[in-house]
Structures are given as C-alpha cells and as structure tokens.
C-alpha cells in the first residue's frame, strides 16, 4: 500500500515537473518551433545552475526558479569565480559577464572567454564560437552539486547504519541497518565472493560497496524529476572516472599469473603467444572502456527515451497525444527504476570480475 502511494507520488511529481520544464523550453524559443533534440540534449548534459521550475511562463512576469551554483575558472589572470546566476539563465552566449579582467559567455552550458576586443560571440557554420576560447573549467555544475548531495546522503545513511550495529549488543541490525544489510550482504556474497574468491575478496569490499551504492543512488537521482535531470551517471566524465579507478585497481593488483597471461599466454604455441600479446594489451583497456560506455549509454538512453516520449506532445502540438506519452514514459520510467539497480550491479560485478582475474592464481 505504502509503495503504491509512493509510486503515485513519484509519478505525479514526474508529470508536474517534466511538463512545466518542457514548456519552459518551448517558451525560450518564442517563435521557434519546439526542438526536441535541443531540449533533450540540454536535459541530458551538464549545466551551470540547478533549474527547478519556471513560473508564469510566456507572460512578461516569467520567472525561473534556479539554484545558482558557483562557476570556477582558471584563466590567464588566475582563478576566476562567480555565480551562475550572473548569466541570467542565458546559455546562448548573449549575456557577457565581466570578472577578473576577462569576459565570459555561456554557450550551451559551456563557459567561453571572449578574446580581447570582441564584444559579442561570433559563430562558424557548426555553431562553434570563433572568437572565444574555453578556459580551464572546474565549476560546481549541477552534476557536481548532485554528486555532493548523493555523497552526503550516502554518508548519512551508512554511518547511521554502522552506528546501529555499534549500539546493538549482539550485532543484530535494527532500523536503517536492516534495510542496508541485505544489500551489503548481496554485494559481498553474490558479487565479491564468487568473482574474486574467498581468500582475497575482503580487500576489495570497500571499493565495490562504494561504487555500487554511488552508482545506484545517482541513477535514482537521475530519475527524480525535481532534480531536473541531474544525469550524473549518464555523464561520460563520471563513468570515465569510475572505470579509471577499476582500471587502476585491476592493474595494480595484477599478479604474476595475470601479466603472464597478457605477455606470454601459457599453453599455446609460440607464434600464437606472440599473436596474442597485442590483443591482450588492447584487452587491458577495452575492459574499463566497456564499463565506461555501458553505464553512460544505458542511463543516457533511458533519459532520452523518456524525454523523447514526452516531446511527442509538443511535436504534435496536441493534448490528445499526452495519454500515450504519459503511459509509455511511465512504463519506461518503471523499467528505468529497475535499470538503476541493474546497471549498478553490472558495473560492480564486472569490476569484481576484473579484480578476480587479476588476482587469480595459476591452476594449470
């Protein structure tokens, strides 16, 4: 009963915020036709502010409610910081912010620094700025912000769970610990133990658990409409970093047997050994790259499908399409809820598998 109520609530929230933000998109273009691709890309990619809702759209009192986030740049003049609200929700390179001797514009959620003397952004045919360059950008974008929110929540949940164990006399879980424990035990007994082996799995447990819950919670955040498409796990930078960690840990823990299988495959004739060396070396890199692309592509694809289904309403400009759109996007959303856990599981189990392969002892 409780779960169904929650689901209804989530659905209602989803519809509410999705539709208002899509309409906001439409009103941006004023006379332009609704551009589904532009809207979807805008939602899937990173942005400088947390746009929450647009009030009074289309009217002169149109008001965007946005959580401004700091923009941090490293320019020729040193560190330059200002809040994203200084762009006034502009991402077409029209508002120029002057800070620390540089002039900055926001072109499709990328900050460009105008060349000296330029007063407005010039574009080439592919809509790339010609008279502006990208400075080194370490802004707290909405993805970074949501990542920190997720980190704070993870630390809260799991330190609270750990305290429950400390409080109990016989190590029995209670409260939030009894919710967390089956998942932790699942990661340990279904992922780490079978993939890495009984003797060595303990060393990798902190990494596997952290990766699993970090990916999972951010997958879920990506589906919650009020966060307005904080698509962290569907961002290739994020999946790149996690894959990089798996890559580093795999190769640092690689034993003699692991390297032997790469550079001098046992049990095959010498010409094949030589033939296999480049293939195995490529294999070292394809494993983490596949991890990176799998997570990024799955989550981004889910977002794009949901957004595309919603866009149908605005493409057909008919309210009668909405039942179809709502039904299908609800259906996909439910699938995506399952996918959040599955993708976290797949990333973790494959990482564990690679660690297991790197630490496997010779058994020939």
């Amino acid at each position: 009963m409780q779960i169904t109520t929650l689901r209804h609530l989530v659905t209602i929230l989803f519809l509410l915020f999705s539709i208002t933000s899509f309409s906001a998109e439409k009103s941006d273009g004023k006379d332009e036709k609704f551009d589904a691709k532009k809207m979807i890309m805008h939602h899937v990619k990173d942005a400088y502010g947390m746009h929450i809702v647009t009030l009074n759209e289309g009217s002169p009192e149109e008001k965007h409610i946005t959580l401004p986030l700091p923009i941090i740049l490293w320019t020729d003049n040193g560190l330059t910081t200002f809040m994203s609200s200084e762009f006034h929700h502009d991402y077409n390179g029209e508002v120029i912010v002057e800070k620390n001797g540089g002039r900055f514009v926001n072109v499709h959620e990328k900050v460009y620094q105008l060349e000296s003397g330029a007063s407005s952004v010039q574009y080439d045919e592919e809509h790339h700025p010609t008279n502006a360059a990208k400075p080194l950008d370490i802004s707290i974008t909405r993805n970074v912000f949501m990542m920190w929110v997720s980190i704070a929540i993870l630390i809260l949940i799991f330190s609270a769970a750990a305290r429950r164990y400390k409080k109990s006399t016989n190590n029995l879980p209670s409260g939030i610990a009894s919710f967390v424990e089956p998942i932790v035990v699942f990661v340990r007994d279904e992922i780490a133990r079978p993939m890495i082996g009984e003797t060595k799995y303990k060393k990798y447990m902190p990494y596997l658990l952290t990766v699993f819950f970090f990916i999972w919670i951010n997958n879920i955040f990506g589906l919650i409409p009020i966060f307005n498409g904080a698509n962290l796990t569907g961002n290739i930078s994020f999946t790149f970093v996690l894959a990089l960690f798996t890559f580093i840990i795999t190769n640092l823990s690689g034993n003699r047997n692991y390297w032997k299988h790469i550079f001098w495959m046992p049990g095959v004739p010498v010409p094949i050994k030589i033939f296999l060396i480049p293939i195995e070396i490529i294999g070292i890199f394809t494993k983490p790259i596949s991890l990176m692309i799998r997570l990024f592509a799955n989550i981004t694809a889910g977002h794009i499908i949901i957004l595309a289904l919603m866009s149908l309403i605005f493409i057909f400009e008919s309210v009668w399409v909405s039942p179809v759109s709502v039904f299908f996007s609800l259906f996909i959303t439910l699938i995506e809820i399952v996918v959040t856990a599955i993708q976290a599981y797949i990333f973790t189990i494959l990482s564990a598998l690679y660690f297991g392969m790197a630490t496997e002892e010779a058994h020939h």
Binding site: T141, F158, Y165, S237, F240
Partner: protein, 164 residues
C-alpha cells in the same frame, strides 16, 4: 560531440569526491558494518558447531548407555545360566551321592546277609550233624537191642558196601 567527451571539470571533481567518499565510507561504514556481519556470522557458526558437538556427545552418551545396558543384560544372562548349571550340577551330584550311598548300603547288607547265611548254614550243618548222630545213636541203640536186628543191619550195610 561533447556528449561523449569527458569534461575536465567533472572528471576533476568526481576523482576528488569519489576518493573522499571511499575513504569516509570505508572508515565510517564498511569497516563497522562488515565487521559486525562477520562477527555475527562467526558467532552463529560457533553456536552451530557447539550444537553439533553437543549432539554428537549426546549420541555418544546414548551409545554408552545402550552398551552398558547390553553388557548388564549379558551379565545377567550368564549369571542365570551359571546358576542353572550349578543347580543342575548340585542335583545330579546329590543324586549320584545318594545312589552311591544306597549302593554301598545294599552291598553291605548283601555281604552281611551272605555271612549270616553262611553262619546259619554252618550252624544248621552242625546241628543237623549232631541230630543225625543222636538219631543214629538212638537208632543204633534200638536196633542193637536184639540179635537178629543186629545181624540184619550188618548185612544191609555189607550189601551197601558191596554195591558201592
């Protein structure tokens, strides 16, 4: 396309944030949680082992009891058997003894009877001899009272002697 190009800013912050998350969670959460889990599992395993051991001991005890009972039963059996044997032996011994005694008594009686008989016979013989002599004396005395009878006697005696 920049959708599939990692951006420096997010990579930078993700590395830092993930490392912090990993270190904080390892210290604050994973160590205590995994420690509690393994402690509990160890405790359960120990309790199970102890129960198994107790069960084994119980079985051993039962087996011991059973064996003792069996032994006691066998002992009783042998004791009964021995008692029966002793009983029958005593009976047969007594019978034998009685028989021997009886035989001895009979034999003694027989010997006594025999000797009595012999004594009686010899007494009878002597008595008969005395009587015969007395009779013979009286007869001889009677017959020798006249002459003719004396002669007749001598003749018959002579005849007898000739016939012999």
């Amino acid at each position: 396309m920049d959708l599939v190009t990692p951006g420096f800013g997010l990579v930078f912050w993700t590395i830092i944030s993930f490392l912090i998350l990993l270190i904080v969670l390892r210290k604050l959460a994973w160590k205590p949680i995994l420690g509690a889990l393994s402690d509990r599992e160890e405790g359960i395993q120990n309790a199970l082992d102890a129960a198994e051991k107790a069960k084994l001991e119980m079985a051993n005890l039962n087996a011991d009891n059973e064996r003792l009972l069996q032994e006691a039963r066998a002992e009783r059996e042998t004791m009964m058997k021995e008692a029966r044997e002793i009983k029958s032996k005593m009976i047969s011994d007594a019978k034998e003894e009685a028989q021997a005694e009886a035989n001895k008594t009979i034999a003694n009686a027989q010997t006594a009877i025999e000797s009595e008989k012999k004594a009686a016979i010899s007494e009878l013989k002597s008595t008969v001899a005395t009587l015969s002599v007395d009779i013979a004396e009286k007869m001889v005395k009677g017959q020798l009272s006249d002459k003719s009878k004396q002669l007749e006697l001598v003749n018959s005696m002579l005849n007898d002697a000739k016939l012999n």
